[in-house]
Amino acid sequence: MRKEVLVVEKLNMHYETLDGPVAAVKDVSFVLNEGESFGLVGESGCGKTSVAMSLLQLQADNAKISSGSIKLEGQELVGMTENELRAVRWDGISIVFQGAMNAWNPVAKIGEQIREAIREHRPDNTKEENTKKIEELFNIVGLDNSIMNRYPHELSGGMKQRAIIALALSCDPKVVIADEPTTALDVVIQDQILKELKKVQDLLGLSLIYISHDIAVIAEMTDNMAVMYAGSVVEMGPTASIFNKPKHAYTRLLLESTPSVVGERKKLRSLDGEPPSLINENKGCSFSPRCPEPSKECKNQELDMKLIEVTKGHWADQCCVNCG
């Protein structure tokens, strides 16, 4: 049995807006084991990044965690003061931000920006120790040491993304969140970065939360995964099990709408309609208006959202499990 590093339970987060609260994360629970990768997949606006931001509590000012708990190695993060949180960020959980192009300060050298993060968390280190650390990190992610003295605009997209990974690793975190780390890159560079991430993970025994809208990347990168729709997790379990026997209608549609270069050339299915507004309290299955074959109970919104265990470790929303 692997050690549980991060346990998220019944996490609820909403944004206060003029039109009322927008429930972006609804009753999300998952467990991340040591050395494992966990994937979060779903379409834009389904709450993937909101979950990531809640874990680090870096969310926007109008966001509020209304209930739930986030435990990092037994330590409760919800309700911590800003100072306590500063110690956890980067030391405990760090993040590889979406869009490496915009994640760097354009007027400071790459090395200086990584040094800043280390200095904040390891104030006793000497300058030489920090330089050595950065060299080590660059070595791991496959960057030349001279990159340290370069400005962000001098690097290509792939190099910036590698440097962002080095930055995320700079304080030896236990958990790294990778939020769409390859979305802005082309396929060949994406492949290099994914391989790099995997290598780093094996080398350092990191626990990784991988967020992406690309189900193909999730398939290759993760051990366990959760499918999110309209702020809720609708299906969760071992990646192989979900791909072999998807239980939720939304998961099935996601799988059938992704083109592939291997296997049969088949007709893909499109997902019509739009996700529901998160402002109103939705009763029942949030996916039923777009579901191609909703059951009668499902249509009438009689069943509440509830994950039930289908096979060992594979959970899905009860309404779809009942549908078949």
């Binding site: 690309d214 193909a216 398939a219 290759e220 549609l253 592939s260 270069v261 893909l268």
Partner: protein
């Protein structure tokens, strides 16, 4: 035998760059370097390659948005059904000709004027080419909006682009393109900015339209999986040159060029049951082909499967 809707021979597009402020020494970037291809009526060709390999430059030269440096581009004139070289057309003929070639751009957030209503955006091509009177134009807009699935059209016509979702905006782009009833459309990554869930519906829409209206696409993408879904043939571009062209399934099952192999083995597979096809970087096959055909720049190895023979060893390593 189908007629070709476009034939491109030895197309080149160079950009001059100056080396320093006071230097007269000018360098040249060969963005598109001697490429040739043809597309039969009603078929689609995928142009696949990494960022910066010259895909978009090729597209812009074909649509006459950027003047080409060298080469011959011939389009099929839909009235006379003969191939005409664009260099031989005068200004009036060229303007008339532009109706037949249209382009769909990558980013639906940037390619629509934010201050214009959807109706104005789609009407503009008709106004420029002076087609029909006002009521006829309006009817045409309604009809095309229905065709691209924005129904009822009356609801969409007075709206502005910011009121629409990304998928709906891309449908407006497609409507604007199709209102001229073109026979050849260049699509520059039309779905790469869209969410997974709406990507397929836009791709299906384009496939259906191609079928119904007999349109040929030059479909530009960096994703071979998307190209496989959309195109009959695929051309792989690398460093400004086309390195391999073949029928889609043939190219994916039987790639010969080391760069094509690299591209195929870098696509993630959306199913843990299948493994990626991992190719080693290997020049033996290419060397063999080059040895047997010493004078050719493109070799047909059978079944219209073409391989480029120029030396790529230094750049690929």
């Amino acid at each position: 035998m189908k007629k070709n809707v476009i034939e491109v021979k030895n197309l080149e597009k160079y950009y001059e760059i100056s080396r320093g402020l006071f230097s007269r020494d000018k360098g040249v970037v060969k963005a598109v370097d001697n490429i040739s291809f043809e597309i039969p009526q009603g078929e689609s060709l995928g142009l696949v390659g990494q960022s910066g390999c010259g895909k978009t430059t090729t597209a812009r030269s074909l649509c006459l948005l950027d003047p080409k440096t060298n080469g011959d581009v011939k389009f099929l004139n839909p009235e006379s059904q003969v191939l005409e070289s664009i260099d031989e057309l005068d200004d009036d003929e060229l303007k008339k000709f532009r109706r037949n070639i249209q382009m769909i751009f990558q980013d639906p957030y940037e390619s629509l004027n934010p201050r214009w209503t959807i109706k104005d955006i789609i009407l503009e091509p008709l106004n420029i080419h002076n087609i029909g009177n006002l009521t006829e134009r309006e009817e045409a807009v309604k009809e095309i909006l229905t065709t691209v699935g924005l129904t009822p059209p009356e609801n969409y016509m007075p709206r502005y682009p910011h009121e629409l979702s990304g998928g709906q905006r891309q449908r407006v782009s497609i409507a604007r393109t199709l209102i001229m009833k073109p026979k050849f459309v260049v699509c520059d990554e039309p779905t790469s900015m869209l969410d997974v869930s709406i990507r397929i519906s836009i791709m299906d829409l384009m496939l259906n339209l191609a079928n119904d209206l007999d349109i040929s696409y030059l479909y530009i993408t960096h994703d071979l999986a998307v190209a496989r879904y959309m195109c009959n043939r695929i051309a792989v571009m690398f460093n400004g040159k086309i390195v391999e062209i073949a029928e889609t399934e043939e190219l994916l099952k039987n790639p010969k060029h080391p760069y094509t192999k690299r591209l195929i083995s870098s696509i993630p597979v959306p199913d843990p049951k299948y493994k990626r096809v991992e190719y080693e970087l290997n020049f033996d096959e290419l060397d063999e082909i080059v040895k047997n055909n010493p004078d050719k720049s493109m070799v047909d190895i059978g079944g219209e499967h073409f391989i480029a023979t120029h030396d790529v060893k230094d750049i690929l390593y």
